[in-house]
């Protein structure tokens, strides 16, 4: 019965967009026991945040 259930439901998540939102969602889903496909259009993840110099209000480095 339990086996049938997991046959029906896929234990995987597709995340479209590898910026800070997609990366966090991917980490949380994976750490909770699910296989994650993280899909990014560009050649690297990081999104817009990777282009930022510092972040407010602590002026911490965005990297």
């Amino acid at each position: 019965m339990e086996w049938n259930m997991s046959e029906q439901v896929k234990g995987s998540v597709l995340i479209a967009g590898g910026g800070i939102a997609g990366m966090q969602a991917a980490l949380d889903a994976a750490n909770s026991g699910f296989y994650v496909y993280l899909v990014e259009r560009r050649a690297a993840i990081g999104g817009k945040m990777a282009q930022l110099d510092k972040t407010f209000p602590t002026n911490d480095c965005a990297m």
């Binding site: 910026g19 800070i20 949380d28 690297a44 110099d53 407010f56 911490d60």
Partner: protein, 920 residues
Amino acid sequence: MSKHPRYVDTEKCIACGLCAEKCPKKVDDEYNEELSKRKAIYIPYPQAVPQKYAIDSDNCLYLKSGKCRACEKFCPAGAINFEDKPETLSLDVGAIVLSPGFTTFDPTGIRTWGYGEFKNVITSMEMERLLSASGPTEGHLIRPADKKEVKRIAFIQCVGSRDLNKSHNGYCSSVCCTYAIKQAMMAKDHVKDLEASIFFMDMRTHGKEFERYYERAKGLGIDFKRCRVHSLEPVKETEDIYFRYIDDRGKQIETQYDMVVLSVGLCTPPSAMELAYHAGVELNEDRFVEFSSFDPVGTSRPGVFSCGAFSGPKDIPQTVMEASAAAADATRLLRSARNSLTRTREFPPELPIDAEPRIGVFICHCGTNIAGVVDVEKVAEYARTLPNVVHVGRNLFTCSQDTQDTIKNIIKEKGLNRVVVAACTPRTHEPLFRETLKAAGLNEYLFDMANIRNQDSWVHAGQPEMATLKAMDLVRMSVAKVGLLSALPGIAVPVNQTGLVIGGGIAGMVSALELADHGFNVFLVEKSNVLGGQARHLYRTWKGEPVEPALHELDARVRSNPLITLCLDSTVAAAEGFVGNFKSTIVGPKASRVVEHGTAIIATGAQGYVPEGEYLFGSSSRVFTAIEFDKLNMMGDRRMKEAKNYVFIQCVGSRCQERMYCSRVCCTHSVQAALELKEKNPDGEVFILYRDMRTYGRREELYRKAREKGVVFINYEAHQKPVVRAVEPRRMEVEVWDHILHEPLRILTDIVVLATAVIPNPATAELADIYKLPIDADGFLQEAHAKLRPVDFAADGIFMAGLAHCPKPVDEAVAQAKAAAGRAISVLSSTSINLEATKATVVEANCDGCAMCLDVCPYKAISLVSVQGTAGKLNSRVEVNLAQCKGCGVCQATCPKDGIFVAGFSLEQISAQVDAALAG
């Protein structure tokens, strides 16, 4: 799904850069906003993941014209593969999360700003790159036109936001005010005596700690001008930018700047619109994903979720919260398949450690954060002279992915058995470097960090020589300690897969339900005898959704869920334990009980400020707080029915010396209430006296509508607050300085509504004490990291949600509640957890069982045992329970015989650091 060809085999590419060096084709670098060039074969940016090259097929000479292949010829790894073809993949997944992000508004071709026409008008994204140490100018603030250092800079706000004429974006982009402040601040950091002005309509610093940031910027001499700038003109000879504006005294001023930054807004990129179309998700008229306040990461299609700027412009912490929330919601549907497709990560077996330390020291520039103050080259030279140091390296960003690979390789090549990283702080980065050690087959505890940023370059910015000497001392201290460290075995403890949620408001209920829906048992503790918290006083969200029915539904779902144990009239009186293994004492109306749980979520809410004595509050029966007003208005109170004129006064108790924060929800609430009053009675007069109208995001629509309907908005300054006087038995006069007429304005009104502050709940501080959690200067809970860990505490296993974190509206509280649950689930879904190995260790030869340490141990982790000694005698000595021991070392300081020490912080190791500190 289609996978674009990369033309580089990522398994083979060693990121040596030879291909890019030989590639003859130069392309504008989009990472640097096209302010610099890259090659047609490239790595998008230095810290990029993966750290592998890719060929840009739109620009590659071979792919375009069939000639070149230089990269293929020179690649030493044979990684170039021009046969790479686009692949179409079909994935069968349980749920989808959409997080395509935003693009910035493109002001090209709009004459008003002259962007694209005048070289010294740039966008804020370009400014971001100019300020960056890894940017096209290496962080030197020079103008694009003539490379002259910028001495006068202006920021123009709301470019492509709050503007239906020049853009189609009526909404506020929410982040530009604070990012402009940041850029102005950083620019002043780069150029001494820089003059920076920000031209704005409303300063929207509504986020946590943003108001204090704004005040700090004013203190640094950044000039804030409330006005609309009409059009920018170039000055022919100098290429400066000239414009006119009306100042706060109504005078027309002409001014000139070296460079103008356009604070461009956030919009949904066409590719994301396409994605929405393919995913079958509806977008609203502003091209963002439409959502409900009670389901903030849901979309119009079941099983598809969204997070981040795709559902409206927002800042990083809100984005991160939504991401955790979306992960929680997406996986909730799949809980029966948990762990069915995952694999666990394997690390190489640990290498044996030679007796002789071989230490590697890696010194971080942190862009200019460290290298801008500390002479890192000198520190590196010095490190080479230290005993047992066999390798010294310097890195622009030691935390980047490629540097981890480099460190890993150097550990192997040079046979390092100890590593020191001199960089930011172990509190944020130690875990990352430890992983790197593990990946290299080294025990993760053979590592130490020298804090040469937070505790050196940042705090001695004006004394570079002293900071350099200090950095050398700190490196020497770390090297001395690391040589004495030994490999520590990992410790795993079981996880109690039960959650505890404290606070039964909207956030607490949503968190508890999320945990229960994932299949975990939850204790929900509420102090009062009802659920709902502050939301019981709200009657609709900013989107107009009624709150009460939603609250009823949540209440019913909580009460009927068999996995939730509801404890009303209850408080938590005591707690002990650690992640995976907490024990909390819940005191109820009849009895108290101890519950065991693996995680805790603090959602203790907030309160409304009572403006005793302000604006006749308490002495007039016609002056109300916003919550009182809503209630009476809804009940059809006579005073409201008879009233014709209303005055709303904003920022009552917020943004002042005692509470230097914005309460975030009050502007939107007043505008919404005013709009409704005006719709009901168009002849009545409704005034809103405000300091900055903070209807951020799509709330701006309400503000625009209110102005259209004739609600009168009057701006006042903090030093010139409005005055309310009782003039007639049932009427009051409100006096406020009119900035347009430049004279005091007196408004006769029937009702005054005070938009009062959201203030912390005193119970939050009590709980913080019980769980040893930090509270910020305003009395709200302090998150582990303002941007990246907005629901976590520094202590593992405890999370926060809702108003206890900072003031926020319903949709944001729900998102955070789901996020907190999601973070908790990532702990609860494992049956065991690995603990720090920094624990008390008994030295059997020295311990004589005097048991002095037993009494002082705050965690009751030590017990006395009998052991078989020599000559058949029974000896006493102490034993440590590793799961209970926190490694605080009070035992170590108490023991008179050196019979117990904390691994990694032994007397010998601390003494070595002290000696090294004083040896310079």
